[in-house]
Each structure stands twice: as C-alpha cells, then as structure tokens.
Amino acid sequence: MKRRSWRYLLVKIVANKALSKKAFSESLVSSVEHLFGHIGLAEISPQVVSYDQECSTALVKCSREGVQKLRATLALVTEIENSPAAAFVLRTSGTIRSLRRRP
C-alpha cells in the first residue's frame, strides 16, 4: 500500500483574544467539515501539530491533496471561539524541519 503524503503549513493566527491550541484545532476541523463535509474532512485530515501561543503561529498537517482546500478553509475563517480572528498560511513544506528551519 502506498504511503500517504503529508504537507505541513505554517499558519499565523490574528485574533482579538488569546487562543489555545484546542480552540484553534476545533475551529479548524469544524470549518473544514462545514465547507467540505465528512468526506472532505477525511480526505484533508487536518491536524494541529504544534501551536506557539506567544507568536500566534500553528503548524498544521494535512494530506498533500488537501492543501488547496485547507488554504481556502483558512482564508474563510473569520472567527474562532466567537471572537473575530483571521488565519494566514505563511509557508508550506513537505517536512516540519524545513518549516522550522527557514526564517
């Protein structure tokens, strides 16, 4: 069986209040499900790998085929935990190491 390919996205979150990893993760999953349904959620498989509360950045993992859909989902996010928020994808890569390495 062919191994599944993943992509990692460095996401910057701007919000009016401090957000936790759990809040962002739940919001992300619910947004993907809202836009693409259960099947889309399974295909994209978004997961928050790590979350830096200080820098308000998150490392998000998704399937290679689901990158564009995840980008679109993040672009359409306007609130998290009933507070205005926005998410920007700063970079994508096939490995976590290269995302963490580049300035």
Binding site: Q68, R71, A72, A75, L76, T78, A86, F88, V89, L90
Partner: protein
C-alpha cells in the same frame, strides 16, 4: 519570483496606526503591489500620508476608486470626472443599466461581483475590451450573507463560469478594511479554485492579471503614475 497584488484594500483614512498595520501585514504576507481605495472627498494630505505609509513598508501602491451609479448618465458623469485621477476604476452597482455600460466602457477596469448576488446576475456580454475584469472580493464571501452560504457559493460559481465564457479576466482581492480581513495571496488563489477557477487561472488572478492591469493604466495615464 512571483509577485502578488491585492487590488482592493480599504484602510481607514485618518487612522495611521491601522494603515501602518495593514501595510506591514501586506508586506509580511508577500504582496508587492496593493491598490488602496480612496474617495473623491478625501483630503490631499490624508491621501499622501496613506500612500507614504504603504510606500515606506516597501510596497508599490496604486490608487483606486469604487464607483456606484444607479443609471447610465450618472455612471458616465462619474467616469468622466474620476478616470484620470485614479489608477484603477471599479464599478459596484446593482443597476443592470449601469453594469451594461460598465462592461462596454474601456474607462472601467473592474466590475465587482457582489452586484450579482443582489440582482439577477451580471448582465455579461462578450468582453469587448481587454480591460474588462471581474473582481471577487473575499468580503463578499465572509460578510455578505444575503443568501444561505451554499447558495451564495453556487451563485458566485455560476457568475464566474459566465465571466470565463465571455472572456472576462477574473481578479481576486481581499476587500480588507482592517488587518484581520486581509488574506495571504495563495490563500486567495485557493478560494478562487473553490469557486471554479483552475489552478493557473487562480494563480494569475492574484499576480500577473492585477499587476499588468495597473501597469497598463499607469502607462496610459502617464506621469505622475508611471
């Protein structure tokens, strides 16, 4: 390296802090050109100050005006008055008469798609000039909720398909009036793909198409824009 452009930023005039934040964020997100919406009533000092803020952030800045008209004579009058003062002229109108004129008039650079959601759709004929562009504003998707979301998306997809059939070029922009409404360029392209553009079209809609539109207008208008 690909250059990206956001053709519709609306930073609050008279609020230097917000303008500064938007300029820095635009630069950080990878934009090289932004188009800032001004209004004919804005004072010269405020306009100059805002331009300087964006220029100091390392961005190329173009000026834009959004024209709204209820009738043909009103639209023509506004175009006559405003065309030479702004690098981009966009028409946002719900009047079918005005939209019909806008798509044929070479003084109009952009027709805003938002109008289609409140009327029977854009009255599009075959694009008669190379300056005909249809604009998708992110704010249309995130804020304008006249219809249920799935119907809104279906309506926009239909309009984009119509625009493509009639050889209109599609531009995607954020329509941001606060930093939180701005979006990264490739994220906007991804939304474009969701709405019916293919990968290449979506990429061009935030890069080569808006940039060439601004450059072409600058050449036509001459200095001080060129």
């Amino acid at each position: 390296m690909t250059k990206f452009a956001d053709l519709h930023l609306k930073p609050p005039i008279g609020n230097p802090a917000a303008q500064q934040e938007m300029a820095e964020l635009a630069r950080h997100l990878g934009y090289s050109l932004v188009t800032v919406t001004f209004y004919p009533r804005d004072r010269d000092e405020e306009v100059k100050s805002m331009r300087k803020t964006f220029l100091d952030a390392g961005l190329d800045v173009a000026s834009r005006v959004d024209v709204s008209a209820a009738s043909r004579p009103e639209l023509l009058k506004k175009l006559r008055a405003l065309r030479r003062d702004f690098e981009i002229v966009a028409v946002e109108s719900t009047s079918s008469e005005a939209l019909s004129i806008a798509q044929r008039d070479s003084r109009v650079d952009i027709i805003c798609l938002e109008a289609a959601l409140s009327s029977r759709g854009l009255p599009l004929n075959r694009a008669s000039s190379s300056s005909a562009h249809i604009e998708i504003n992110m704010s249309t998707l995130t804020e304008t909720q006249r219809l249920p979301e799935h119907l809104q998306i279906a309506r926009i997809r239909k309009e984009i398909e119509k625009a493509k059939e009639n050889r209109y070029r599609v531009v995607i922009s954020s329509g941001a009036y606060t930093p939180m409404r701005m979006r990264a360029p490739r994220d906007l392209a991804a939304v474009g793909m969701l709405l019916g553009l293919d990968k290449e079209e979506a990429a061009k809609s935030i890069s080569s198409i808006p940039i060439s539109l601004v450059n072409k207008n600058r050449m036509k208008l001459g200095s001080p824009y060129a």
